[in-house]
């Protein structure tokens, strides 16, 4: 796993640099006949100067990779797009399909979308691996997919122009046909298939001017909706194969523990149970269905050794984080321009955020079928590159002997960037010499997550007589998700530990930011908005506190701190108007606000809440997001409101506890999420912007906890410095 995040390609995923003079397996343009008829197009990115027409050899080779390439044109005049991201609810399939449809001239409402198999050609350009995450889908793929689309449009226009004896510039592609501008002649893409392969791909085909977009910028319906209304959408858990066995497992309750004893005979006495299989740190029961597997597991009574931290509990965790505050730590930022002005007081405050689980609705699962020479995997995963490596390692095959099918994901939120379930499914299939689907129980999911790490921050702020900071000292103690992901050292400090705390838009003359690593041997990972999920709460909570002390309006206080950051000022102005901030809040309603820049976008929120029998009731959330150019405004709105609800769940209800090294929570009763009845009204506005596209799956999350904390502060006069928020 270690090498995978490095930009240097490993031998298994190296991309050959091949020009038209040196055509070989990976041609720059692959346009070949496919078994079902029609043409398959695969462009090597970045696009080269010239592309090569399909040769016989190419046409033969296409049969080896039935769904690879970027798109297919069929004889029925359909366009099938291969969209290189995992669809986990974020709407990226639709957004990328809109980009391609517009650029090539396809008919978006009729478009079909496929998720590709594993292949380095689909590596996310921002990561260098086939991975969906970090709110990157549109940011990473807009340009490369546009180039593919523009190239194909140019070739379609050339083919039609040749046929009509006109200039290609007089042609355009729209809705699966080429249209001649002057004489209004039209021809379906399908009719151009015979001559399309003889066209040369233009060197640098011009992209469409935004004024020509038919779909981009509009709230087009999602391509994945119909299948999600009738039970046909295939999630990982739905995979069916002939002779498929089903397994479920128990993992060592203390991380790092291993199986010691179990009652195999008792498990096998359950009708339908086929085998009991030991796995690293776990034991699985394989049966002819989930129910017998689960009953077998209940009878198995597995006992595990205690792992690395058998004593671990929350008191210990917090004590160690506290002690971390006394360590020097690593300096992230040390800017000291000599500040003018007299320190009138110094405020110190500590902020805490707990461990959190992801709990996507679809439990962890994967299906594998391993033979002597091949390993086929079906997985709802965000991370194809590491899934393939994990499958190769577990099956003792080479990565090029692994085929990975990515299904729909029943939620990801970062959890499915990890591939533990793939390793386990492949080991089980290898052992059983049969296809096996592994399904975790919800309890295993909650107790064996890669958790959002707990974090503690201390602020020491010197204020001037007006209550504005002269010097700002900030230290964060937490664990490193990047060290866990990349196999970094125990002392590695990563940017996610402090992201948003030093690069925030506030201009403070004397800023000191330090990071201290505390490693608890608890598996940790990317949780929606990663480090910003706690740093947003810390920083914006502190800013709200300072404004409140001085009785300065939090918008006004921020405007002063922001100085000339025009974009964030714009977000604040729009948010103030949207939320009616200038009017006083209704009786008993507290209001708070926050703004955070993350994943290339700026988000501001106002939360209105009140107290009922010492319970917090959130009434309304107003959100403004500036995420640059927008492909589908409705998808952006949904993602922001989705992130608000995810963030409110965490702010109000979520905390993972440890006792004797074991996670105490286990299901949705003790690790609940917001219900429809508890969900406030949410208004989302998108800033009209021509800036480069930013992310939108995560940036809606960081502001909601501090904005809610601000609302509680306005009601009680007490700053909220811990999550989840308790009155």
């Amino acid at each position: 796993m270690k090498a995978l995040m490095q930009s240097k390609p490993t031998p298994s995923n190296a991309v050959e640099e091949i020009g038209p003079e040196n055509p070989s397996r990976r041609a720059l343009l692959r346009a070949g006949l496919i078994a079902s008829g029609g043409l398959l197009f695969g462009f090597q990115l970045p696009l080269a100067r010239k592309a090569r027409a399909a040769s016989d050899a190419d046409a033969q080779q296409t049969s080896n990779f039935p769904v690879q390439g970027w798109l297919q044109l069929t004889e029925q005049n359909e366009v099938v797009l291969i969209v290189p991201v995992s669809e986990m609810g974020q709407g990226s399939q639709a957004a990328l399909a809109m980009i391609m449809a517009d650029e090539m001239g396809a008919d978006y409402p009729r478009i079909q979308v496929k998720t590709p198999l594993n292949d380095p050609m689909y590596n996310n350009p921002m990561f260098g691996m086939q991975l969906t995450g970090g709110s990157t889908a549109v940011r990473a793929w807009w340009e490369p997919l546009s180039k593919v689309g523009a190239t194909l449009r140019a070739m379609l226009c050339q083919a039609a122009a040749e046929q009509w004896g006109v200039a290609p510039q007089d042609c355009d592609a729209r809705e699966n046909r080429v249209i001649e501008r002057h004489n209004h002649r039209q021809i379906d893409f399908a009719e151009l298939l015979p001559t399309l392969t003889q066209q040369t791909a233009p060197a640098d085909p011009p992209l469409r001017h935004p004024s020509e977009y038919q779909y981009i910028g509009r709230p087009m319906p999602r391509v994945d909706t119909p299948a999600k209304l009738n039970g046909q959408a295939q999630f990982g858990i739905d995979v069916q194969l002939p002779g498929l066995l089903t397994a479920t497992l128990a993992q060592a309750p203390v991380f790092g523990g291993d199986i010691e004893t179990y009652d195999e005979a008792a498990a096998k006495s359950v009708k339908g149970v086929k085998a009991v299989v030991e796995l690293p740190g776990a034991i699985a029961v394989v049966a002819d269905g989930y129910w017998p597997a689960k009953k077998g597991l209940e009878k198995l009574n597995p006992q595990f050794s205690v792992g690395a931290m058998p004593e671990l509990n929350n008191t210990q965790i917090e004590a160690r984080l506290q002690a971390g505050l006394n360590k020097d730590g690593e300096t992230v930022i040390e800017s000291s321009q000599s500040a003018s002005g007299q320190v009138s007081e110094t405020i110190q405050a500590d902020y805490y955020a707990p461990y959190l689980a992801h709990t996507p609705m679809e439990p962890m699962n994967a299906t594998a079928h391993v033979t002597d020479s091949h390993c086929e995997v079906w997985a709802p995963t965000q991370n194809q590159t590491q899934s393939v490596q994990a499958a190769a390692d577990a099956s003792l095959l080479q990565p090029d002997q692994v085929t990975l099918h990515t299904t729909y994901l029943g939620g990801g939120f970062g959890r499915r960037a990890y591939v533990d379930y793939v390793t386990q499914a492949v080991l089980l299939s290898t052992e059983m010499q049969a296809p096996v689907k592994l399904i975790w129980s919800r309890e295993e999911d909650v107790q064996h997550d890669f958790y959002r790490p707990a974090a503690l921050a201390r602020f020491d702020v010197d204020l001037d007589a007006d209550g504005y900071p002269l010097a700002w000292r900030n230290k964060v103690v937490t664990d490193s998700v990047m060290a866990d992901f990349t196999g970094g050292s125990d002392t590695m400090i990563d940017s996610a530990m402090t992201e948003g705390l030093g690069d925030q838009a506030y201009q403070i003359a004397n800023l000191s930011l330090k990071a201290v690593r505390e490693n608890f041997s608890v598996p940790i990972g990317f949780w929606r908005s990663v480090g910003h999920s706690f740093t947003g709460f810390f920083l914006e909570g502190m800013v709200n506190e300072l404004a409140h002390r001085q009785q300065i309006d939090p918008f006004a206080y921020r405007r002063q701190l922001l100085k000339d950051d025009a974009r964030m000022h714009g977000v604040l102005d729009q948010l103030e108007a949207l939320s009616g901030w200038q009017k006083p809040a209704a009786d008993g309603i507290g209001r708070g606000m926050a703004c955070v820049e993350s994943f290339g976008s700026l988000a501001g929120q106002v939360v209105e809440a009140h107290l009922e029998d010492k319970q917090i009731v959130v009434d309304r959330v107003y959100c403004v997001i500036d995420c640059g150019r927008v492909v589908n405004p409705e998808i952006v709105r949904r993602q922001v409101s989705s992130a608000v609800i995810y963030g409110l769940t965490a702010a109000l209800q979520s905390e993972i506890h440890f006792e004797s090294g074991r996670v105490q929570e286990s299901n949705f009763d003790d690790y609940p999420m917001l219900t429809l009845a508890q969900t406030p009204d949410i208004d989302v506005e998108i800033v009209a912007s021509e800036q480069a596209p930013g992310g939108y799956g995560e940036p809606g999350l960081p502001p909601v906890a501090p904005a809610l904390a601000g609302a509680i502060l306005s009601l009680t006069g007490q700053p909220v410095r811990r999550l989840p928020i308790k009155i």
């Binding site: 909706t225 999600k228 039970g231 002819d288 949904r638 429809l676």
Partner: protein
């Protein structure tokens, strides 16, 4: 031992343990995978089906209790049902995993209220208890409102 189940108006005879939850009979024995597993404890509603028209959490409903029952799963739902239509118009699903259960809960709400007025917001809130980790609740609420805004008699 053989268990008889009537699912989507078809009768099936299954050789499974009587304590098998309906969820796994559907998914593992009848390949009706539109009904989802999530919590396995009746807490989330992802596994909701209609049993004699009532939304029922199939993960905690043993097949032995369903001898005489009419069971409806997402697969047999009329695509023109006002709830399905509203779900499409509002593009409700995000990841989609909870949506079979959400839709069937909403169908039951719709069918009960069809001849009466649109249910109150409170009624919607107490009925729609299915969890959605993606937070599609605002759109679920809007889709239910929309389904009642279009004339229910046309259903």
């Amino acid at each position: 031992m053989s268990t008889t189940l009537t699912i989507n108006e078809q009768t099936h005879s299954l050789d499974i343990d009587p304590d098998t939850p309906l969820l796994w009979a559907l998914r593992d024995h009848l390949q009706l995978t539109g009904t989802k597993f999530s919590c396995g404890k009746g807490l989330c509603g992802a596994c909701t089906v209609l049993v004699d028209q009532k939304p029922t959490r199939s993960c905690i409903t043993p097949v032995s209790t369903l001898n005489q029952a009419q069971i409806t799963t997402i697969e047999s739902l009329d695509p023109n049902h006002p709830i399905v239509q509203a779900w499409q118009k509002k593009d409700v699903p995000q990841c989609g995993y909870c949506q079979s259960g959400q839709i069937l809960s909403a169908v039951s709400l719709y069918e009960q209220a069809k001849t009466a007025d649109k249910p109150s917001d409170d009624a919607i809130k107490t009925t729609m208890t299915n969890l959605c980790r993606c937070g599609s609740y605002p759109e679920i609420k809007q889709a239910i409102d929309l389904s009642f805004a279009t004339n229910p008699q046309e259903a």
